[in-house]
């Protein structure tokens, strides 16, 4: 009983502080309830993006205003909202609670934990919708994101603050690519935010498990709106993930955000728009579907030192149908981002994994951010591959080839083998440099194609045993000096198969 008395006293004390204020509130009445969307009458002075609260505590988000009606999407259980219910404007906009504690957690788009763990302490609230940093706050992209994937780091380098699209058909390894990148950020001083939109809950669960076993959850936040969540939640998830990323960016951190995937995000938005009776455009998407993604991806940036120097790198994922890049959403997002990584089913089935089509993939700004060591070896690699691809097509019809051509074809085949990489095994900068150097300098030319992998394994092993000093030097200076080339040569030459 003593405890209850104590509680009552605290409550009394709290209440005696507050005075009755004359506060005018906005009120409306629900006139229609549709799938996750309500239409209300009243609320004459409500503003766009404002939150409204229904009688049972469910919150809505105003997304549509017409002459005498207001449309709002319901955040949470929309089955409990009935026609005739009273809704009250809260005169605040949607924000997500953030703090350092959010790392290692799985949250829903409103920042509520859904991993069964305890409540997350709130440090600040970050607005979901925010205008991207302007020109004066930004700085050009200058340092690299080490994805740990050879073909990306060498040929399609991504910089911190860049937006690089990962695009491909279903089951071509898009998510794998993104997750490998997260796993590789362990020692890279990066915070990762993985945003799952409209995915199977089982996939999210296995993904969390994978990241946990790899020790990658310590610097990762997962924002999940699965396929069973309302379209409203799926629509908000990417903005929420970006808000969380901005919290860390404002602390001066480098953040990597992965949106998996924006096709489903566009679907969710299309659903909401159609229910709100907005005019449908191409493929039934509403007119502002470009802005939907451009305002999201514009928030990826590299801030200058004056503004903390943090960055947000965005890796949006888009799923295509039958490799069709010219449909609406893929073309939109391709034009918004600073380059794309194109994954192909044919390559995937041919065993070239990651199934990156090097010819179609580009990175528009990442080249400036590549480390000197990688630049040195990647230049040759690009040349070898380009020559190989040019020759490979027509060499099928040619019976006799001259020695030079044969050499080029052989080199190209080896380089293609070298760029293969198993999933969940990201490589460090020095390891990548070592194997690519060996390939482009002809040390693989006399090895059979199927033994290239064995060669690579042996090389990595040797580096771990004998080349510790060499690799730590490369990792530190990010350069490949004459001396270290000589040392690398010694190691490569000592490999016997």
């Amino acid at each position: 009983m003593k405890v209850i008395d104590e509680y009552l006293k605290t409550i009394e004390k709290e209440l005696s502080k507050s005075k009755i204020k004359l506060k005018t509130e906005e009120q409306g009445i629900v006139s229609e309830v549709k799938d996750g969307v309500v239409i209300l009458r009243g609320l004459d002075n409500v503003s766009f993006g404002e939150l409204i609260e229904f009688r049972n505590g469910v919150v809505g988000y105003v997304v549509d205003m017409s002459e005498d009606e207001v449309g709002a999407i319901i955040l949470g259980n929309y089955l409990s909202v009935k026609s005739g219910d009273v809704a009250k404007a809260l005169s605040i906009t949607l924000s997500v609670p953030v703090s350092q504690e959010i790392l290692n957690r799985v949250v829903d788009p409103l920042g509520e934990p859904i991993d069964g763990g305890r409540k997350i302490k709130v440090d600040k609230r970050y607005l979901l919708e925010k205008i991207a940093p302007g020109v004066v706050k930004r700085k050009p992209v200058s340092s690299p994101v080490q994805t740990g994937i050879k073909s990306i780091d060498a040929l399609i380098p991504i910089g911190r603050g860049q937006r690089e699209l990962i695009i491909g058909d279903r089951a071509t390894g898009k998510t794998t690519l993104a997750i490998d990148t997260i796993i590789n950020q362990k020692k890279e001083n990066m915070i990762c935010v993985y945003c799952a939109v409209g995915q199977k809950t089982s996939k999210i669960a296995s993904l969390v498990h994978l990241l946990k076993t790899k020790g990658a959850m310590d610097y990762t936040v997962i924002v999940a709106a699965s396929a069973s969540d309302p379209a409203a939640m799926q629509y908000l998830a990417p903005y929420s993930a970006t808000a969380i990323a901005e919290y860390f960016m404002d602390k001066g951190k480098d953040v990597l955000v992965i949106y998996d995937d924006l096709t489903k995000h566009a679907w969710a938005y299309r659903q909401i728009s159609l229910i709100l009776r907005r005019p449908a455009g191409r493929e039934a998407y509403p007119g502002d579907v470009f802005y939907l993604h451009s305002r999201l991806l514009e928030r990826a940036c590299r801030l200058n030192e004056k503004n903390g120097g943090g960055s947000i790198t965005a890796l949006p994922i888009i799923e295509t149908l039958e490799g069709d890049l010219s449909s609406y959403i893929p073309t939109n997002v391709i034009s918004i981002t600073d380059g794309q990584i194109f994954l192909e089913t044919d390559l995937f089935n041919a065993g070239i994994r990651p199934a990156i089509n090097v010819g179609l993939s580009v990175s528009r700004v990442g080249g400036n951010a590549q480390t000197k060591a990688m630049k040195k070896v990647a230049g040759r690699l690009k040349l070898d591959l380009a020559q190989y691809n040019a020759l490979a097509a027509f060499s099928q019809f040619e019976g006799e080839l001259d020695e030079d051509t044969k050499k080029l074809l052989n080199r190209g085949a080896k380089v293609t083998q070298v760029l293969k990489q198993k999933k969940g095994q990201p490589l460090s900068l020095s390891e990548q440099v070592a194997i690519i150097w060996a390939a482009t300098n002809g040390y693989l030319d006399n090895i059979e194609n199927d033994k290239v992998q064995l060669f690579e394994e042996k090389l990595l092993e040797l580096i771990k045993i004998r080349g510790k000093k060499w690799s730590s030097e490369v990792e530190k200076t990010k350069e490949l000096s004459e001396n270290s080339i000589k040392e690398l040569e010694k190691i490569v030459k000592s490999i016997t198969l």
């Binding site: 009755i20 004359l22 506060k23 906005e26 009120q27 002075n45």
Partner: protein, 94 residues
Amino acid sequence: MKIKPHLKEQLKKYLIDKVKEEEQKIKVYSAYKLSENEVSLIKNKVKEYDWKNVDYLIDESLIAGIVIKKGSQIINLSLKGALVNLKKIVYESD
């Protein structure tokens, strides 16, 4: 009964206008019938409204205090409203 679409449109508009007109009326809800004294007190306290067109209504569920409504705006000064707010701010902390 079939009516022409433009007629339906106009009827709908007329209805909305009527409702709006009705809503512009100030409504004062209270738990019991207010005395002259109390009414003038309210009028003095809430100055942003012109108190020409007022309805006084009784709603016992308010327990005590008053609720003033005008259009979509509402001023809740009832005990019921205060209790609802209290319910919201009291939560379990761990």
